[in-house]
Each structure stands twice: as structure tokens, then as C-alpha cells.
Symmetry: C2
Subunit: 233 residues, 2 copies
């Protein structure tokens, strides 16, 4: 507790100063560097599956991680108008709820990026898996992650699976709907996907590899980049 | 890698299934229960200072934590229109940037609550310090945190410092400005503060305790609630 001596008599309740736990302290505690591993790729390209396998590999390595994907984001932080109406009313839901218009998508990625920055600053290896089709959006997040931390904190993973294969898999039936015109602005069909020009890691989705094999490629990269400060378990 | 045997010939690229790291696994790894410790109280009541001291005590205990407060939220996830205009344009900034109108505050607290849920689900002891003046907003976050986890995951800490003391301290000069009419909707002056009726922890800000002493009260509560599954270091 710090007291300013001269005004203490008149101001019995002083302004305190408390120690802050720094990012460096958090990272030392966890034995790793906080960072963001950002998967981008078409719907159905396999990015969520590989991201899950990566998190499992990181967990086995003793790392502390978090995975952000549509499942835990779209229902909460980036909920659509429908989900917000009951609790918050119509005008609130219309303003803040996120649909699929260009501006909504931009805000969606912005919020996700900001949360990824918070997780990285908490020292976590933060895995994010989103289509994120636009170079500008990804570049912006990269720039912000680095500005909030260090060079190398943003690791872009391009899950490079050709559209034909994604559409053939169509795990959620979305391509079929998009081709039938039931979904507008669908990336790869009616909206563009801008492939990364210089991703840190490119995974070739045409290869018959398991998710674990793809994850191992990323783990190798992370070891080389000294993301872990402690020996593997 | 799971393959559906009958269609394997026609569908060489199959839908993968990868193991997911569960919340229970994250918590076992960290030796603690993820939870949200939510500080509420007037501006200048000392909540940020005590939250910082609590995080330092948790760090010393070997816990893995994150602190959310105005500093790391207002500039990013909940940025005001001004900060968004350059990057995203005026209409974007007007829609998604958060000011101090009632709806903006509601969305501010909603986003913060959703992020706190993500951190708790990552297994972190998540400390949040925001004025959060409305019972309804706090009750909503409590309900959502519990729904996403378990009873007891939301721990409300009421930093109960009388307005007179907060105003006397006025560490940021905000009360002076609010009294002069330069800040509208200022909690405690021109806007209400709804004190918690049944906070898990009430800290009496009239007592001449240090932040560390207040933090120790909370640590005692957390030990009783078995937030830590490992012995203290």
C-alpha cells in the first residue's frame, strides 16, 4: 500500500497501488509463449478437425490452450439477432446481433480477433478456426496480435483443400444449399475466398493424411519457433 | 480417422473425427476449477486495485488466471466509435462502437460476460472488475456462467465503498467532472448503482485494509469452495 505522505491527513482513503501480473509472468508460469494459431480455409476443408487434433497434441505436450471456433463463439459473443431478441429486445438484437452481411462478418472477425489477443496475453496457445475468407481481415488481426505482443505471435495455418473436395464432403450440407440458392454469400460459391499469400504453415488437404499427421506438422513448427520453454512430456 | 465403409469408394475424402480437449481435462491440467470472480462497485471503490492484488495472490498460489478490466477491454473488444472509425469506417463504428447510452452499456457488459465464460471454460480463474451497476446485467451473466458450467462458477464480489469515499478519492477526476455536468450518466451521481443483494463476498471499503488484506479474504473463500484441486505452493 503506497501512501502519499503530504496529503495523508486530509485524505484518509488513499489511492492504492497493487502489483500487476504481467504477461511475462503468466508465460513463465505456464512454460510457454502465448500466441494465436489461426486456421483459415473453406467450409469443409478440415480446419476444425485439424485444430481439434492440434489441441489434443498440445494437451498431450502439457501445453495450456484454448480453441475458438464457431461452436463456442456463434452462440455467445457473436450471436445472431435471433439469439439476442428474447433477452435484449428487438432493436438491441438488430444493432448488435451478427448476420452474414459484409459489415456483420467484419465485426464477427474483429471480435474473434480481439478475444484471441486476450487469450494470447493470458499466455495461452490460442487456436482459432474460422473460414475468415478475406486477406484484409486476417492481416488486421495479425497486425493487432503482433502489436499487442511480439513478432511471431500470429501463426497462420492455411488448410488448403480444393473446393471440389470440400464440396464433395459437404459435412454440414451447406454447399448443397448454397448451390440451390438457399444460402446467399457462401464462401467459395457465391463469395470469394482469398487464399493466404504467405501463411506460416500450409497444409495440403489433397494428401491422404490423418488430422493427427497434419497436427504433427504444426507441432514441429511450434517446437522450432520455441513456443514451449519446457521440455516435452 | 473414421471411415464410413460403404461409401468409401465414391468418397475418398471422408469426414474426420478428432478428439476434443474437454473443460474437465483443462481443469485437471491446471489443478483448479475455472470460474468467474466478478467485482462490482462504484468508480473509485477500489475494485480494480483489489482485483489486481487478488490476481497477484492467485499467481503466488500457482493458479492460472486472467484479469479483465477497462484497460484491456475498452481499447479492443468494446472499443468506442472513435477507435473503430479509422480501420472500419463511420457506419461500422456507429453501429458497433460502444458509447455510454443504455443500450451500449448493456452490450458492453454482454460482451465482457461472454468472454468471461470463454475464459472460465478454458479452466482459468477469471477476474473481472467493472462498475456493472445493474442487477439485471449481473444476474444475466451469473445465469449464463452457471449454465455454461456449474453452480458456484460465478462469484460476485461487492466492493462496498460509500459514494462519499469514492468521490473523495476520485483517482481519475471523474466525479469532479460528473458534478460539473461534463460527464452525463455517471454511476452514483446521475445514474443509479444497484448494490448486490446476495453477493458471495462483500468487502467493506470503509475499513482501513490494504488491497492484500481484502484479497486474502477472497482467497480464503476460494479455498473453502475448493477452487484449487492442488495444495498451495
Amino acid at each position: 500500500m503506497t501512501r502519499s505522505s503530504e496529503s495523508d491527513a486530509e485524505r484518509p482513503y488513499v489511492v492504492w497501488h497493487a502489483m500487476t501480473v504481467s504477461r511475462a509472468m503468466r508465460e513463465r508460469h505456464l512454460g510457454q509463449r502465448g500466441c494465436v494459431i489461426w486456421f483459415t480455409g473453406l467450409s469443409g476443408c478440415g480446419k476444425s478437425t485439424v485444430a481439434n487434433a492440434l489441441e489434443a497434441a498440445l494437451y498431450a505436450r502439457g501445453a495450456t490452450t484454448f480453441l475458438m471456433d464457431g461452436d463456442n463463439i456463434r452462440h455467445g459473443l457473436c450471436a445472431g439477432p435471433d439469439r439476442l431478441t428474447d433477452e435484449h429486445g428487438t432493436s438491441f438484437a438488430e444493432r448488435f446481433g451478427l448476420g452474414f452481411a459484409a459489415m456483420d462478418r467484419e465485426e464477427n472477425i474483429r471480435r474473434i480477433g480481439e478475444v484471441a489477443i486476450l487469450f494470447a496475453s493470458a499466455g495461452l496457445i490460442t487456436v482459432a478456426a474460422f473460414v475468415s475468407p478475406y486477406r484484409r481481415d486476417r492481416a488486421r488481426i495479425r497486425q493487432q496480435v503482433v502489436a499487442a505482443g511480439r513478432d511471431g505471435d500470429f501463426i497462420e495455418v492455411f488448410m488448403d483443400t480444393p473446393l471440389e473436395i470440400c464440396e464433395q464432403r459437404d459435412p454440414k450440407g451447406l454447399y448443397r444449399k448454397a448451390r440451390a440458392g438457399e444460402i446467399a454469400h457462401f464462401t467459395g460459391i457465391s463469395d470469394p475466398y482469398e487464399a493466404p499469400l504467405a501463411a506460416e504453415i500450409r497444409l495440403d488437404g489433397r494428401l491422404r493424411k490423418t488430422p493427427e499427421e497434419f497436427a504433427a506438422e504444426i507441432m514441429h513448427y511450434l517446437e522450432l519457433q520455441r513456443v514451449f520453454s519446457t521440455a516435452g512430456s
